[in-house]
Structure formats: structure tokens, C-alpha cells
């Protein structure tokens, strides 16, 4: 009983911390993108706009919740929740440092894949349930995109699985050793490249933000959403970014290992690396135009998947010869 209570408290703490990070990830993004675009970003609420995310949260919480008359109400309500829950659940298996993990399961990597594929249901349902043409097109795009890029992403991580011989995220980090040179980014540079692109597509970020391409589909699948429900989609997107960044860190950048150990706060390096990834996300958003739908598919199926497959074969050959 005690164990369950402790677990419950742990879950709550993780939830609170992640939500805070999500809120400030939006601030982080707006500030960085602002400075990249010769403007200031949020400045008004608090010192240099520091309280802006909180104000935004309160605002969207109290906004009117509009449900279109012709919508499928149940699915419309469920969609953002599915997104958020799927993304939050995948946090459970992420090791933030040795032992700092809610559920240290053997199939951590697969579990995260499973959850991220579930999150796409939220988007699809949102697109369908709104009963609007723009959202529907957004949902369709998202469906095709998620199916295609999940394959590329899964295949890109197979190399890591082969090198480490496990699907447990903690063990993957440990298999890379503590030294800088042990990181899988060096032997798996091809896989890392594929992963980075697929990661952007999985999280619907520029240049693959087609499901919500605002100049084409107004706002894609979330066109009809407002207030808190819209904010939930937003949160899910940012948690998704963080989860993807965490996987990239764990599988390729040596997880929580750093040049030296930080006492009392072992996850320091992991979080730092996650934010480097986040910066990468934002930087790309500020730089690149958007792909077109068919070009996105072409890139996924004709470039990334073959590349990932080649990487698997290469890794297999090298592993067979070295062992």
C-alpha cells in the first residue's frame, strides 16, 4: 500500500515538473524565435515576460469552450485528452538519471513508440469529429504522416537496439558507457540523422507541420478548438517534443552522462541535452519553409526508410565482424 502511495506521489511530482517545463518551453520558444526574428518576444507579464506562460494558461483555462454544433461531441471532447494522456504516459518510462524512473520496464523504447502512435488518434479524431473540411484534411495528413514517419523512426532506432542489445532505456544509456566517445551518435550517425528528421515529423514541427499548416488549412486539425481544449493540444505537442528529445538524448547522446558528475542532481546533463534538442527544434522552425504534402511522403519513403534500413544492415555487418 505504501509503495502505491509513494508511486502516486512520484507521478504527481513528475506531472507537476513536466507541466512547468511545458509552460516554460513555450516561453523559451517565443523568446528564442523572437530574438532570431529581430523582435523581443513576450515582455509585458513579469520581468521580461517571465510570467507570460502562466498568464496564457489562466487565459485559456477561462476561455469559452466552443463545440461546433455539427461536431461529434464525444469524440470532439475525447480527442485532446487522448493526445495528452498518450504523451504523458510515455513519460513514465523515461529514465532521468540512474534510478530516476517511474517504471523501469524492459520494453521502454517500444512503449514510447506505442504511446506516440496512440497520440495520433487524438489528432485524427480531432480532425474528424470537428466535422469541418479544414480539420478533416489536417487529420488525413496527420494520419499519413504518422504512419510513414513512425516506420522511419522505429527503423532508425533498431541500430541502437542492436548495439546495446536491449530495449530498456536505462540499459541503453549504460551500454554507452560514461565516456564521451561511447555515445551512439558516432557509430550511428546515419541513424541519428534519420531520427532527427523523423522526430520533427512525428511532433508535427516545421518543416513538417502539415497537419496544422496555417497558411493552407487555417490551423489544420485544431481549427475548431478553442480555450482549454486547444491548450491541451498545445501541451501534448510540447510534451511530445520533450519525449522525442529525451529519446534522442538517451539513445544517441549518452543520456544523463556528462563530462563530470553534478552532485545531488544527476538528471542535470539529461535536461541540458533535452534543451539543446529543443533549441534545435526552435531553430529549425525559425529557418525553414514548409514541405509540401507529397514531398514529405517522398522524403519519408524514398530517403529516410531506405537509409534506416541500410543503417541496420551496416550495423549488423559491423557487429558480426567485431564480435
Amino acid at each position: 500500500m505504501m509503495q502505491v502511495l509513494i508511486l502516486f506521489i512520484q507521478i504527481l511530482v513528475l506531472f507537476a515538473i513536466v507541466m512547468l517545463h511545458v509552460a516554460y518551453a513555450t516561453y523559451f520558444e517565443r523568446k528564442i524565435i523572437g530574438h532570431m526574428q529581430v523582435r523581443m518576444g513576450p515582455m509585458r507579464v513579469g520581468y521580461h515576460g517571465l510570467l507570460q506562460p502562466i498568464a496564457d494558461g489562466i487565459k485559456s483555462f477561462f476561455k469559452e469552450d466552443i463545440i461546433p454544433e455539427q461536431a461529434d461531441k464525444a469524440a470532439f471532447r475525447a480527442a485532446p485528452i487522448i493526445c495528452l494522456v498518450a504523451m504523458m504516459t510515455s513519460l513514465a518510462v523515461l529514465p532521468f538519471a540512474k534510478g530516476w524512473v517511474l517504471a523501469d520496464i524492459n520494453i521502454g523504447l517500444l512503449f514510447i513508440f506505442a504511446m506516440s502512435s496512440l497520440a495520433s488518434y487524438g489528432v485524427i479524431l480531432a480532425g474528424w469529429a470537428s466535422n469541418s473540411k479544414f480539420t478533416f484534411l489536417g487529420g488525413m495528413r496527420s494520419m499519413a504522416q504518422v504512419i510513414s514517419y513512425e516506420i522511419a523512426m522505429g527503423l532508425s532506432l533498431v541500430g541502437v537496439m542492436m548495439l546495446s542489445g536491449t530495449l530498456n532505456l536505462t540499459e541503453i544509456v549504460e551500454a554507452q558507457g560514461t565516456s564521451f566517445t561511447g555515445m551512439y551518435i558516432f557509430p550511428q550517425i546515419l541513424a541519428f540523422f534519420v531520427f532527427c528528421i523523423a522526430m520533427l515529423a512525428e511532433t508535427n514541427r516545421v518543416p513538417f507541420d502539415l497537419p496544422e499548416a496555417e497558411t493552407e488549412l487555417v490551423s489544420g486539425y485544431c481549427t475548431e478548438y478553442s480555450g482549454m481544449r486547444y491548450a491541451i493540444f498545445f501541451m501534448a505537442e510540447y510534451i511530445g517534443m520533450m519525449v522525442m528529445a529525451a529519446i534522442g538524448t538517451i539513445c544517441f547522446l549518452g543520456g544523463w552522462n556528462g563530462p563530470f558528475v553534478i552532485p545531488f542532481f544527476p538528471p542535470f546533463w539529461l535536461i541540458l541535452k533535452i534543451y539543446v534538442f529543443m533549441f534545435f527544434f526552435i531553430w529549425i522552425r525559425a529557418t525553414l519553409p514548409r514541405y509540401r504534402y507529397d514531398q514529405l511522403m517522398e522524403l519519408g519513403w524514398k530517403l529516410l526508410i531506405p537509409l534506416a534500413l541500410a543503417n541496420i544492415v551496416l550495423t549488423g555487418i559491423i557487429k558480426a565482424f567485431t564480435s
Binding site: 524565435i33 532570431m36 526574428q37 529581430v38 523582435r39 455539427q70 461529434d72 474528424w128 466535422n131 469541418s132 473540411k133 479544414f134 478533416f136 484534411l137 516545421v206 518543416p207 507541420d209 499548416a213 496555417e214 497558411t215 493552407e216 488549412l217 487555417v218 522552425r285 525559425a286 529557418t287 525553414l288 519553409p289 514548409r290 514541405y291 509540401r292 504534402y293 507529397d294 514531398q295
Partner: protein, 409 residues
């Protein structure tokens, strides 16, 4: 015995080829540049048929112009292409001067050429900004606005307005340029080439940008001409038609500049054309500054085209109509207004901006027709967009550079 097996929510889907998926884009849509509505018939995301609808901003300028004096109509032209309003003002004034046979002092000609090119840069910058945003490149948008701001400040220094200028007058310009304006302009001319390179670094060699623009929205030169496209859209298809060269007005015959031509007629070619035009405009600006002759800026013989006042400044009740008509009567008696018709067009940033006037000898135009480039460019949209994807339609609308205020008039 039968019974319904499914009873569903209406799912908006394409029902084979009998009933294509129809999508109404606009009039409120982020990428239709104002209140343009485009009705699409889609097969998946491929456009089977595209029907633009305009008129949401129709204000009846043609009709208003028939009931106002020539000077009064000038302020309407600000509201055509409000992104580069100065070019419309100049276009209108050039047309009226030719109709009424006024001459313009040399200095005014140079100033007008100058402001024309400035508004061309303004317009092209805004075009680049929104076009890039349509394709998804967000940063270029803000960079362009940073530079546009400098130019708007310059305009403010020149005439006090930032958007609707009404600065040129029939027979010249309203007031002379200041020393400060010239100095600032000089600075801008030196600053801009670097900034243009900055945009090009961001998008010109970008793989995604090239994928989105090269080979999309192709038009051959003949087809573009038949569709009535003008300006950079026509020159992108390789047709050498620039009114500044073909029928020079103001001081353009004194200027040494090149007309950039594309060859492919796709979105990328139009983009390249406009980028080169930015550079050529800077060249013209430099020449204007260097060659600016001294002298008056408003023709002495030009009639004092005072606008009728709404309130009599000397106190008492307003009698605007009789005051206005008084002047007009006087001028009609002087025989300033010849009877006849004339079509004069100028090279506005978006393309050929033409004014067709019929004068019957009174102070008001008997008939005025504005040939606005945006109107014709939108009408070419179905031809360009057919068979392409939704995303390309957005890019095409952007690359045609339409302003609804000008289209609907």
C-alpha cells in the same frame, strides 16, 4: 426486409469522381491575402477546379470618379493597392496630366520616379514577406517588415503619411523633398543591398524553398500574355514588357536600369524577377538622388486644383458644393478640359496599372476605368492552379502578388 446498418455523422469526403470534395477557402482565410474567396474542387489534395470569387471589397471607384473632380479622385487611388500607394498616385497623375495636357517640372518628375521606386521596394518587400510566410518561412517575414519600416519612415518624412499618401499632384508633387529625406534615402540605398542578400541567404538556396517553387505554377510567355498578366509575373515567363522602358513616363527615360527577365515562368522565376527588381530599383533611386535637378515641384501653369472645402474656414455655414462648383465652373470656362479619351498605364509594382479616361470637357471624368493588375492576375489563378496541390495554390496566390483592394476597386 431491410434495415439501415449505418447511420453516420456526415463525413466530409470525396465521393468518387461524381462528387468531388469541395472546399471553400476564404473570404476569411490566412493565405488569401484579404477577402478573396477561392472555391476548390478537390480530388484528395489535387485541385480539379478552382474558382476565385472577388468583389467583397468593391467600392465602386469608377462610379465615384464620375461624380468628383479629377483632383478629388486622386485620394481614391491610395485605396487601390494600399501596399504601394504612391505608385497608384503617380499613375493617376500621369494619366490625368496627359489627358488635360499639363506639363510637369523636371524636379517633380525625378521626385515622382523616386517615390515610385520606393513604393515598388515597399510592395516587393511585403510581397516577399507574405509569400515566404505562405510557404512557411516565418523569419523572412519579420526581416522584410524591418526594412519596410525604414521606407515607411522615409515616406512619413516626405509627406507625413505612412500608408495613404496622396503626395503627387496633377502637375507635380505637393511639396519639395527635404535635405534629411535625401540623406536618409542615401543611407537606405547603401543599406539595402546587404539586406537583400540576407533574404536570399535565408531562402534562395534552401532545398525546401526550391522544391516548393521550382517548376510550380508554370506559365509560358504566350500564355501569360494571353491571360493578361503583367509586371514581374509576365517577365518571369520571359516576356520583355516593362512600361518604364516601353512607354517611359516621368523621368524613366533618363534612367539607366535593366529589366530582369526570367525564363521558366514558375514561382521561382517570378521570385527571382522581383528580387532583381529590388536591386534595379535601388539603382534608379541612386540615379534619381544624383541627378535631381533644382527647380519648382509644381507646374506654374497647372491650375490650382483646390479641393472643395467641407467647412468654410472664414466661419459661417459650410457651402462646399457652391465653392467647389465655383472653381470648376471657372476652369470649365477657361477651357482647360479638352474632350476626348485616353488610356495611360504605368508600371506599378504589381504590374500594369492603367487608367482609361473619357473626358467630355467638364471638370469631372465622364468615365474612368482602372485596369488593375491584381484583378487580371486573380483571373489567371484557375489556369495556373489546376492540377496542382492545395499547398501550391497558396504559393501561387502568393507569387501572383494580388491585393484585393486593387482587384475590387
Amino acid at each position: 426486409m431491410t434495415r439501415p446498418v449505418t447511420k453516420t455523422l456526415e463525413i466530409p469526403v470525396a465521393d468518387g469522381e461524381r462528387n468531388p470534395y469541395s472546399l471553400k477557402m476564404g473570404p476569411q482565410h490566412p493565405a488569401t491575402h484579404g477577402v478573396l474567396r477561392v472555391d476548390l474542387e478537390l480530388d484528395g489534395e489535387t485541385i480539379l477546379k478552382c474558382t476565385p470569387h472577388v468583389g467583397y471589397l468593391h467600392r465602386g471607384f469608377d462610379k465615384i470618379a464620375e461624380n468628383r473632380t479629377y483632383a478629388q479622385t486622386l485620394i481614391l487611388t491610395d485605396r487601390l493597392d494600399y501596399i504601394g500607394a504612391m505608385a497608384n498616385n503617380v499613375g493617376y497623375c500621369v494619366a490625368v496630366e496627359q489627358l488635360l495636357g499639363f506639363s510637369v517640372p523636371e524636379r517633380a518628375k525625378y521626385i515622382r520616379t523616386m517615390v515610385c521606386e520606393m513604393s515598388r521596394i515597399c510592395s516587393h518587400l511585403l510581397w516577399l514577406a507574405t509569400h515566404a510566410l505562405d510557404i512557411g518561412a516565418m523569419t523572412v517575414f519579420l526581416y522584410c517588415f524591418r526594412e519596410r519600416e525604414i521606407l515607411l519612415d522615409l515616406f512619413e518624412e516626405l509627406c507625413g503619411a505612412r500608408l495613404t499618401f496622396s503626395y503627387p499632384r496633377i502637375g507635380g508633387v505637393r511639396q519639395d523633398v527635404t535635405r534629411k529625406f535625401i540623406d536618409e534615402l542615401q543611407r537606405v540605398i547603401h543599406l539595402f543591398p546587404g539586406r537583400i542578400e540576407e533574404y536570399e541567404t535565408l531562402i534562395d538556396t534552401n532545398r525546401i524553398w526550391l522544391k516548393r517553387t521550382v517548376g510550380i505554377g508554370k506559365l509560358s510567355g504566350d500564355k501569360a500574355l494571353a491571360l493578361g498578366l503583367t509586371g514581374p509575373c509576365l517577365r518571369g515567363s520571359g516576356v520583355d514588357y516593362d512600361i518604364r522602358k516601353h512607354r517611359p513616363y516621368d523621368a524613366y527615360d533618363q534612367m539607366d536600369f535593366e529589366v530582369p527577365l526570367g525564363s521558366d515562368g514558375d514561382i521561382y522565376a517570378r521570385y527571382r524577377c522581383r528580387m532583381e527588381e529590388l536591386r534595379q530599383s535601388l539603382r534608379i533611386l541612386q540615379q534619381c538622388v544624383d541627378m535631381l535637378p533644382p527647380g519648382p515641384v509644381l507646374d506654374k501653369d497647372a491650375p490650382d486644383l483646390v479641393m472643395p472645402l467641407h467647412k468654410n474656414t472664414k466661419g459661417g455655414e459650410a457651402d462646399s458644393t457652391s465653392y467647389g462648383t465655383g472653381i470648376i465652373k471657372f476652369m470649365e470656362e477657361q477651357g482647360i478640359y479638352p474632350a476626348g479619351d485616353i488610356y495611360v498605364s504605368t508600371e506599378a509594382p504589381k504590374g500594369e496599372l492603367g487608367f482609361y479616361f473619357i473626358s467630355d470637357g467638364s471638370a469631372r471624368a465622364y468615365r474612368m476605368h482602372i485596369r488593375s493588375p491584381s484583378f487580371i492576375h486573380i483571373s489567371a489563378l484557375p489556369t495556373i492552379a489546376q492540377g496542382e496541390l492545395i499547398a501550391d495554390l497558396i504559393a501561387n496566390i502568393g507569387s501572383l502578388d494580388v491585393v484585393i483592394g486593387e482587384c475590387d476597386r
